[in-house]
């Protein structure tokens, strides 16, 4: 064979032009991690019990050495109640988003890849549901579906989030599925399942992760609102929403009671939003327009 091979190219690789995720991103991830760990291992932490009322010694105190964030009007430790409250907020929001993504994501991906009638039907249905305000649906269903539990709240929020998740994942899949590499995989004989898992999934994952983060943040707000309406968990179970709501009446006496749970909630939402936003811009995923 007369070789006419041109010499192996000196390939000039394009540099990864991305700016790094940044320190603040990792601070946010760290904060989310702290929240998660504290919520999971609350029982093992050297803190007061959330219901320990201290024999009415320290009522409505500000931060001190024995109670880092102070106590409420029943003498219960605020830090401890915030940590146990994180269980409700994080439990409901992570649970609801994972459930919604499991169902909505699979349908969204499948519909966008297959197109055709199934896509048309699912998309029309999702549009109808999106026209119906989901928060109203959540309130309506929860007010009728008693007795309430964390599981029920999670399920209701998850179900009402499915149409939105479906739309987001469908749009992300659609933009990936129209790329030539999908066709290339197809003509090499890849099965639909292989294309969906090997070619499409890695490309919609950044969108999904980013949206999960922002979704979790918004579920935390929804759960908080429900707590205000008395539609969330039992009042005796501490949740951030409950804590803020209960202490509104003593706000004048002890503003710490409102400030600390509010701060806990805002910081976590900020972290989640920031993580989601950075992932989106890092992976250069354009904002999904609905």
């Amino acid at each position: 064979m007369t070789s006419t091979i041109e010499n192996n190219e000196v390939v000039v690789l394009k540099p990864e032009k991305k700016e790094p995720l940044g320190v603040f991103f990792w601070v946010c991830v760290g904060w989310l991690g702290v929240n998660l760990l504290a919520a999971i291992f609350a029982n093992f932490l050297p803190i007061w019990g959330p219901q320990d009322s201290n024999n009415y010694v320290d009522l409505n105190t500000g931060p001190s050495f024995s109670h880092l964030l102070g106590t409420d009007d029943l003498g219960r430790d605020i830090l401890s109640r915030i940590i146990y409250g994180a269980r409700v907020s994080l439990g409901v929001s992570f649970g609801a988003m994972f459930l919604a993504f499991f169902i909505g994501g699979i349908f969204g991906m499948y519909a966008a890849y297959r197109r055709g009638k199934l896509d048309l039907i699912l998309t029309s249905v999702s549009l109808v549901f999106l026209a119906f305000p989901s928060i109203i649906a959540v309130i309506a269903v929860l007010s009728f579906w008693t007795p309430r539990s964390i599981l029920k709240i999670t399920i209701v929020i998850a179900v009402t989030s499915i149409p939105l998740v479906y739309r987001v994942i469908r749009a992300a899949t659609l933009s990936a599925a129209t790329k030539d590499y999908v066709l290339a995989a197809k003509i090499q004989g890849a099965t639909d399942r292989r294309i969906m898992t090997k070619e499409l999934l890695p490309n919609i994952l950044p969108t999904a992760v980013s949206f999960v983060m922002i979704g979790i943040a918004s579920v935390i707000v929804v759960e908080g609102s429900l707590a205000f309406l008395g539609l969330s968990t039992n009042v005796t179970t501490p949740s951030w929403g409950n804590m803020i709501n209960e202490s509104r009446s003593v706000m004048q006496v002890n503003p710490w009671l409102v400030l600390f749970p509010s701060l806990a909630m805002c910081l976590l939402i900020l972290s989640l939003n920031f993580i989601g936003d950075r992932i989106r811009s890092y992976y250069d995923v354009s904002e999904v327009k609905l």
């Binding site: 041109e6 010499n7 190219e9 000196v10 000039v12 540099p15 032009k17 700016e19």
Partner: protein
């Protein structure tokens, strides 16, 4: 040809300051353009031809860009002019046709409005006058049933028609210089021929100078008076069109010519290729930027960048330490089927 130049570019540099360092997109470019001339600027992607044309126009964004040298257009200095000053020149003295007519027209404005807008803002015409003139312009660039098309949106037109609209906008305030940046890339061959003929026709009708920026040697071969060949942000050869095609001295010009497939080639003609890839502008060393791909490169080429030198008195310049002999252009031996002696395959 001896009329005084309308455009004088002297030692122009455009350097982008990016996260990776300094990117010298255009480095030390000098040339002149006469009032009735058509100048072609040819180069591959990354050669700096588009940046050059935008810098001449003054359209380069100001942040993270370092400009040097001078561009004198009809007595106005462009390089350090403020946008307010430039605005008085744009449209009336120089205007531009962009590569992609789809993206260079505002999708939510009717084409008529986009033309008459210039007339009203720049020339202070009344609404009614501007409309009449805009329709005239649409007719001038060959758009059928111009009155009806006046109210059309860009998406309702084909690519060729859109490019005609862009040309109409560019001509609306009778500029003396038209900068056309890849005006036919992405258009079909028959439409490309129509657009190039249109520009040529309007050039003589409107008495303006034209700069035709392109990657395609075919576009400039028969429609320009002079050609500039760019590589890595610099002029490597410049001269009258025939000189560049037939008497080029710079090996890159030849390589470009040889690697372009030709309709007149018999089928299965093996193209003579340039090995390697265009240089990484971030890491230019002191030598000739083409040296790593050049078959004739010597140590001198790798160490010292050649400057432009005269090939003849007609303004034919080239930048090379080991220029090709005169008259060895592949175009001169087109009918001999012998393989070219100067094969630079490695």
């Amino acid at each position: 040809m001896s009329s005084s130049p309308i455009l004088v570019v002297k030692n122009l540099t455009t350097t982008f300051i990016t996260g990776r360092g300094r990117l010298p997109a255009v480095g030390g470019v000098s040339f002149e353009l006469n009032a009735d001339e058509t100048l072609g600027i040819v180069g591959e992607s990354g050669s700096g031809k588009t940046v050059l044309s935008r810098t001449i126009m003054g359209l380069q964004p100001r942040s993270n860009v370092e400009l040097g040298g001078s561009v004198q257009l009809l007595g106005h200095e462009i390089v350090h002019a403020s946008e307010d000053e430039l605005r008085t020149i744009w449209g009336t003295e120089v205007s531009m046709v962009f590569q992609d007519p789809m993206t260079s027209l505002n999708p939510v404005m009717t084409i008529g409005k986009q033309i008459s807008e210039s007339l009203r803002v720049r020339l202070g015409m009344s609404k009614a006058d501007a409309k009449v003139r805009a329709i005239d312009l649409l007719k001038l660039v060959g758009i059928p049933s111009a009155e009806e098309r006046y109210d059309a949106y860009p998406t309702q037109l084909s690519g060729g028609m859109r490019q005609r609209v862009v040309i109409a906008i560019a001509l609306s305030c009778s500029p003396q210089l038209l900068l056309a940046d890849e005006p036919t890339t992405g258009l079909d061959v028959t439409i490309q021929a129509q657009i190039l003929n249109l520009i040529e026709e309007l050039k003589s009708k409107e008495k303006m100078a034209v700069i035709l920026v392109t990657h395609d040697l075919g576009v400039v071969a028969t429609r320009t008076d002079r050609i500039i060949v760019m590589y890595a942000g610099r002029i490597v050869e410049m001269g009258r069109t025939r000189d560049v095609f037939f008497n080029h001295r710079m090996p890159y010009t030849r390589a470009l010519l040889e690697s372009t497939p030709k309709v007149s080639n018999p089928s299965h003609t093996r193209l003579i290729t340039i090995p390697g890839r265009p240089p990484d502008l971030y890491n230019l060393d002191g030598g000739c930027a083409f040296a790593p791909r050049c078959a004739y490169a010597t140590d001198q080429c790798r160490q010292e960048a050649p400057s432009l030198q005269e090939a003849n008195s007609d303004g034919h310049l080239f930048a090379c330490w080991n220029p090709l002999p005169v008259g060895t252009s592949p175009l001169n031996q087109q009918n001999s089927n012998e393989p070219n002696g100067a094969s630079n395959e490695q």
